[in-house]
Assembly symmetry: C2
Homo-oligomer: 200 residues x 2
Amino acid sequence: MPAKRPPVPLSRERIIEAALHIADGQGLRRLTMRRLGDALQVEAMAIYHHLPRGKEALMDALAEHVTTVTVDPSGSATWQELARAWARAGRAALLEHPGVLALALTKPPQGTALIAVREQGEQLAASGLGDSTQAVRSLRAYVMGSVAVEIQRSGWAGPAGDGEEPGAPPLPGSRTESEQEAVAAFERGLEALLRGLAET
Amino acid sequence: MPAKRPPVPLSRERIIEAALHIADGQGLRRLTMRRLGDALQVEAMAIYHHLPRGKEALMDALAEHVTTVTVDPSGSATWQELARAWARAGRAALLEHPGVLALALTKPPQGTALIAVREQGEQLAASGLGDSTQAVRSLRAYVMGSVAVEIQRSGWAGPAGDGEEPGAPPLPGSRTESEQEAVAAFERGLEALLRGLAET
DNA sequence: CATTGCGGCTTACTTTGTAAAGGGCGCCGC
DNA sequence: GCGGCGCCCTTTACAAAGTAAGCCGCAATG
C-alpha cells in the first residue's frame, strides 16, 4: 500500500522550519532533500510541490527567513535608538540560525527581507538621520560581520563543515567566549559606529 | 596507454589557484573535484595526494587564502592609518575572490589567516590603540560585512547559486553600483567606525 | 639492473538533486 | 450514490559528485 497520506499536510512554512532545524543542528552540508523529507515524514520529491524550484528555492527561502526583521519605530525617540533596535533585531535573527548564515550573508535580500531593508531606511530617514542610505548600509555591514565573527568564534562548522555537531571543540588558540562577552563586544562596536555616523 | 604524466607536476598552490578561478567564475556550487581535475589536466583523484582530506581541506585552504593579508606598519604613523590599511587590504583580498566569500565569512581563521589576525592586533596595540582586541573585532566585522553587502549588490549568485555566470542580472529594485560608489560607501563607514573607536 | 616509492589513473560504491510518470483520496456536479 | 477531476504524494530512474581501494609507470637510489 504505497501513497500514504502524511498526518499533517505539509506546507511551505513547515518545510522551512524543518530545514532550519536540520541546518542548525548538522550544518548546511547535511541539509539534503531526502533528509528534509524524512524529517517531514514525506518522500523527498513531495517538497517540490511546495517549492517548485527545488533546493534553489529552499535556500532562497531560508536566507529570506533569517534576514527578515521588523522593528516598531514608536519605541525609539532618536535615530540612534532606532538604529540600535534594528541592529539588535538583525543580530538576534541571524544568531538564531547559525547554520544558514552563509546564505544570509551571500544572497541578495529578496521579498520580505528586501522590504525590511527599505523599511529600515525609511524609518531612519523619518527619525531625522541625514544620509540614511549610507547608514543602513554601514549598519547592515556591521551587523552581518559581527555575527559572522561570533559564529566563527563559536567554532561552528560552516557551509562545508565536517558534519560534526554544532558544538564543535573550541579553537585551540582562543577560548570560546560567553554570551555576555559577545553582546558586550557587539554593543561597543555598535556604539562606536553610531558615534561615527552622528558626526556626518 | 594510461598513466600519462601531466606537463607540469601539480602542487597545492596550483590546485588552490585553479579552484579559486572556478569558484569565482562559476560559483562554489560548480567547484567539483572532477571539474578541478579537468582544469588541472588531471584526474580528480590525483588531487587527494596533495590535499589528503579532500574537499574539506580544499575549502579550508581557500578560506585561508582569501583571508590572509599582510600590512607593513612602517607606512602608518597613527593607529588610524594602520587600521585603514588593514581594512582596505582585507576588503581587497575578499573582493578579489567573491566566489569563496561564504567560506571566508563562515570558517574560523586558521593557519596564516589566524596569524594575520593576531598580527593586526599586535600592530594596533603597538601603535597606541588602547583596546586593540575590541578594535580588531569591530574592524574585521565591518570589513567582512561590507564585502558581503557589496557582493550581494553585485548580484553574485552565492553558495547555492544557480550556476549562472557571475555577472548576473542586476537586482530589479536597485541599480548595480559602480566601483567608485562602493569604495566611497566603504570609506565613509570606515571613517565613522574609526571616529567611534577613537572616543574610547 | 633490480627496488622502492611518489604521483597519477582506474574502478566502483554511496549519496545527492531532480525529471517523469503513477496512484490514492477527497470533493464536485449530477 | 457515483463518476470523474485534481491535488499531493510516491515510485522509479538517471546523471553527477565525493571518495575509498588498488594498480601501474616512471625516476631516483642502491
